[in-house]
């Protein structure tokens, strides 16, 4: 509706909508890709319609023997505990090896070429799924949890190394200079200038990686590398639906339990201890009278 009071002036022209060729091209490419996949993928889409009913039936037979027998439960929980142990030891191994390797990837410690090569190694390790590593390790280390532990260790090495060198490159100079100024030895400098800076972030990421690794180690048994995945793949092969159901429940509960504990610890590490300003724990007040006097001098 044009307003009569403004009839003299021409209609206000809206500025033309901004056009973003980049996004336009991108969307077109994706639409084409999706369309091609939809049309050419080798499956009967009609089966998708039956899927909900099929899954419903599956859940029916999976939870047929709902509480299961106590030995079945003990066995499955033991296998999940194997998976958790594999994930933890794998994470620890990765961390132990990632520290020295990450020094080789930090540009401020070694030259650019060495750093570049080390980073490419990290990138390759990050790209391989743990299951493929386990598949390659099983013939060497046997059908045992060790194959799984090493798969997880090698698989996590890339991402932990990447994080470590990023931390090393971003260490603040201040505390190190302060340590130097009071005459610290190189070990003391590391202990008081560097470690306190990086420890919280490092620990918290380590725990986070552990949470990721639990999910990985729960399926490594599929290629025979130990843990609960083996029971699951057997259940699938021999169509023991009730065992598959039990394995599923144990995996979900175990994962959520570990996530909850580890998440709570991570939160606490990152937040630190809440210190009430002026309260009994306030470090600013825990100084000698002389220091307090010095603090009162006007700063220049």
């Amino acid at each position: 509706m044009s307003s009569p009071t403004n009839s003299a002036s021409a209609r206000i022209q809206l500025p033309s909508k901004p056009r973003d060729t980049f996004k336009l091209v991108l969307s077109t490419v994706f639409v084409v890709l999706i369309g091609w996949s939809l049309v050419s993928v080798d499956l009967k889409w009609s089966r998708l319609l039956d899927a909900p009913a099929d899954m419903w039936n599956l859940f029916g037979v999976m939870f047929d023997e709902f509480p299961w027998t106590s030995e079945e439960r003990t066995r499955m929980i033991g296998l999940m505990w194997d998976s958790i142990a594999m994930a933890w030891i794998g994470t620890i191994i990765a961390a132990v090896f990632a520290v020295p390797l990450s020094f080789l990837a930090a540009e401020n410690l070694v030259g650019r070429p060495i750093a570049w090569v080390t980073r490419q190694v990290f990138n390759i390790l990050r790209a391989v799924p743990e299951v493929i590593l386990a598949l390659l390790f099983v013939p060497v280390f046997g059908l045992s949890p060790m194959a799984g532990v090493l798969a997880i260790g090698v698989g996590s090495l890339g991402s932990l190394g990447k994080l470590f060198y990023e931390i090393i490159e971003n260490v603040q100079k201040g505390p190190i200079e302060a340590a130097d100024a009071v005459g610290a030895s190189s070990v003391q400098r590391l202990r008081w200038g560097v470690v306190p800076q990086v420890a919280p972030e490092l620990t918290s990421f380590l725990l986070y990686r552990f949470e990721i690794n639990i999910r990985a180690s729960a399926v490594l048994g599929i290629v025979g590398a130990g843990g609960i995945g083996g029971a699951l793949v057997d259940a699938i092969r021999f169509q023991e639906y009730d065992q598959a159901g039990l394995a599923l429940v144990v995996v979900i509960l175990g994962t959520i339990a570990v996530d909850t504990v580890s998440g709570a610890i991570r939160k606490r590490i990152v937040a630190g201890r809440a210190v009430e300003v002026g309260g009994p724990d306030d470090p600013m007040l825990a100084v000698s009278p002389g220091a307090a006097l010095l603090a009162q001098e006007p700063s220049r």
Partner: protein
């Protein structure tokens, strides 16, 4: 000036929490190391034995990268990743909105949705694939469904976390202008998260591509089927060829995706 020595401030005591965590870490490490039977000498011993996998790597069959069957398997992997991601991304947007305060004022449905999502997220992708193979049967459809649920969980979680931190200004403006709830979401919420959301979608695609390579190990289609085939026959030379092909594809996709994501955000 008095000659009194300055007293050093007392050393801060290590917090009970820090000690507790360290004790826990050490104890847990010892227990779990025993559980998996960890030994360095065992590893070295195993490495000294003849090693069919490494032999395969030295005699790698590059031809396997281009054989007809491998190419087909790769195309299937790619298709599963594309479709699984698309489905998961589309469904995750409303789910993420419903599981946050801006999109859903009711606490109870919100909490229920988040808990369901946590359960879905705790199931690894290969386990999803195994379940669907049991229920729906062997083939690409099972892999597709597995990737769909996996994407759904990841995308909903990431998007919901982003939604928790958005700027409330545009929402108030939309409310003040008399927008309905859906109009408010459309004009004040979605545009704010769209760049991050598209970036997550690409990241999710990278994850899915990597995951879809192994789904075939439980019979859910893609190159995993070929990997399983070569593994069972002990043809490690061919398996390595396939693994290198996989690297190549993942690297190219990641290279492109990282560049697009940088431009988006």
């Amino acid at each position: 000036m008095s000659d009194e020595r300055l007293q050093l401030p007392p050393k801060p005591k290590p917090s009970l929490f820090a000690i507790g965590v360290w004790v826990l870490v050490v104890v847990f490490t010892v227990i779990t190391a025993r559980r998996v039977g960890f030994s360095f000498s065992g590893i070295i011993e195993d490495l000294q034995r003849p090693n069919p996998v490494l032999d395969g790597l030295w005699n790698i069959r590059w031809g396997e990268m281009f054989s007809e069957r491998s190419r087909k398997a790769f195309v299937e992997t790619l298709q599963m990743a594309v479709l699984g991601t698309t489905g998961g991304v589309i469904v995750s947007l409303p789910l993420a909105l419903w599981s946050t305060e801006v999109g859903n004022p009711y606490v109870v449905p919100r909490v229920i949705l988040r808990s369901i999502n946590n359960v879905i997220r705790s199931i690894p992708d290969l386990l999803w694939a195994g379940l669907f193979v049991l229920g729906v049967g062997i083939g690409a459809l099972s892999g597709l469904l597995a990737l769909f649920f996996f994407s759904l969980a990841v995308m909903t979680k990431l998007t919901a976390d982003t939604l928790d931190g958005i700027d409330m200004g545009p929402i108030e403006a939309a409310d003040a202008a008399g927008a309905s709830h859906s109009q408010m979401l459309r004009t004040a919420v979605v545009p704010q998260i769209l760049p991050a959301f598209s970036s997550y979608a690409l990241y999710d695609f990278e994850l899915n591509l990597r995951a879809s390579a192994v789904l075939g190990l439980v019979g859910a289609g893609g190159i995993g089927n070929r990997l399983d085939f070569f593994r069972n026959r002990g043809q490690w030379d061919k398996l390595w060829g396939l693994v290198f092909m996989f690297f190549l594809v993942v690297f190219i996709v990641e290279w492109v995706s990282v560049r697009i994501r940088r431009r988006l955000v």
